[in-house]
């Protein structure tokens, strides 16, 4: 009993060696918020995996309609990829600027991030409009239903990310680099980088594989 109490006391004072042992007291808020949002992102990725599985199963069911090979324009996909990758990079720059407490660089890098994100969305809208104009809408075949669901869901995420990004810019401007605002920004940057990871899967497995099968 005394030995137990003694070890407990020793563990309590040994703050530096407490990683993963739960004896160092509650984790800082930044760890808890970041970890919680990481769990959310992973469940979002699992939701996307269901859409990916649906698409993989239905990709060849064109019901006599146009196939992926006839529809996809790789030049447009490359441009979209460039926009999203660059915006992921500038978002990383924004988190460095927030770490430096530089309002000018934070706003500038976030603005560039938002413009690149909007550019991505514009390219995607143009592509979808082109498909609809050719009669290749989501109701044409099972392949196109799955395609519009998967890629459209990613597009909706980017749209939500853009709204969040605008909110973050306004909040940094109005409230400064307060801790709660920085925590929100940590979550936003995780969200934005995760969207780019999902896009990597989309351009590789939907567009590139689609054009060779």
């Amino acid at each position: 009993m005394t030995a137990l109490a003694l070890t407990a006391g020793a563990a309590g004072t040994d703050h530096a060696g407490a990683t993963g042992h739960g004896a160092g007291g509650p984790a800082p808020k930044r760890i808890i918020v970041g970890y919680g949002f990481w769990i959310f992102l992973l469940s979002d990725v699992i939701m996307f995996s269901a859409f990916f599985a649906t698409y993989a199963v239905l990709a060849s069911n064109t019901a006599g309609g146009p196939s992926a090979r006839q529809l996809f324009d790789l030049r447009n996909t490359a441009l979209e990829t460039a926009c999203l990758l660059a915006s992921s990079f500038t978002c990383g720059m924004a988190s460095l600027a927030v770490g430096q407490r530089s309002m000018r660089w934070t706003q500038l890098t976030l603005l560039v991030t938002g413009l690149l994100g909007a550019g991505f969305l514009a390219l995607e809208f143009r592509e979808f409009a082109g498909l609809l104009a050719r009669g290749a809408g989501p109701s044409r075949s099972a392949f196109l239903s799955a395609f519009f669901t998967l890629v459209g869901c990613h597009g909706l995420h980017v749209t939500a990310g853009l709204l969040w990004l605008g909110t973050m810019m306004a909040q940094f401007l109005a409230k400064g680099f307060r801790q709660d605002i920085r925590l929100r920004f940590l979550c936003f940057s995780l969200f934005w980088h995760a969207l780019d990871i999902i896009w990597v899967a989309i351009f590789s497995l939907v567009y590139l594989v689609g054009t060779i099968l």
């Binding site: 703050h15 760890i31 660059a86 899967a201």
Partner: protein
């Protein structure tokens, strides 16, 4: 409260690390952090170009191209995770890595399980036109 804020701002010694946070040295200079992001960007661009090149080249055995694309995509996701989300194998990152491992397991089960089951179902099913004839 303010000391706590100071503590969590950059102190990683003996602590866990939030995903997305820079790790390791607290004294890592800004230029070193920028270099990390630039390196990640360069690697991601190289892998993207390799993917787009793989579908247009004749150097790769045709039926092997989808596997090559999957490998390149997984590699690029790894680059994003390490250089942009700062998920590493460091001891302060164990929780993040374990959560990621579980996520990858579920994603693998959902995607490969669906494709596997549906392919076999498709294989064993009566073709649609024959089914129509039988119902007539």
């Amino acid at each position: 409260m303010s000391t706590e804020n100071e503590l969590d701002a950059g102190s990683n010694v003996g602590q866990d690390r939030a995903p997305g946070d820079e790790g390791g040295d607290e004294d890592r200079s800004l230029s070193a952090e920028v270099r990390g992001y630039v390196l990640g960007l360069v690697l991601a661009i190289a892998l993207t170009i390799a993917s787009f090149w793989a579908v247009q080249t004749h150097l790769i055995y045709g039926p092997g191209i989808p596997m090559a694309l999957v490998a390149l995509a997984v590699a690029q996701m790894g680059i994003h995770l390490v250089f942009f989300l700062h998920i590493t194998t460091g001891p302060d990152n164990t929780n993040n890595v374990l959560a990621l491992a579980f996520g990858v397991l579920i994603v693998g089960l959902v995607v490969f399980g669906s494709v596997w089951v549906m392919a076999h179902l498709n294989h064993n099913m009566v073709p649609m036109d024959e089914l129509m004839r039988m119902q007539r």
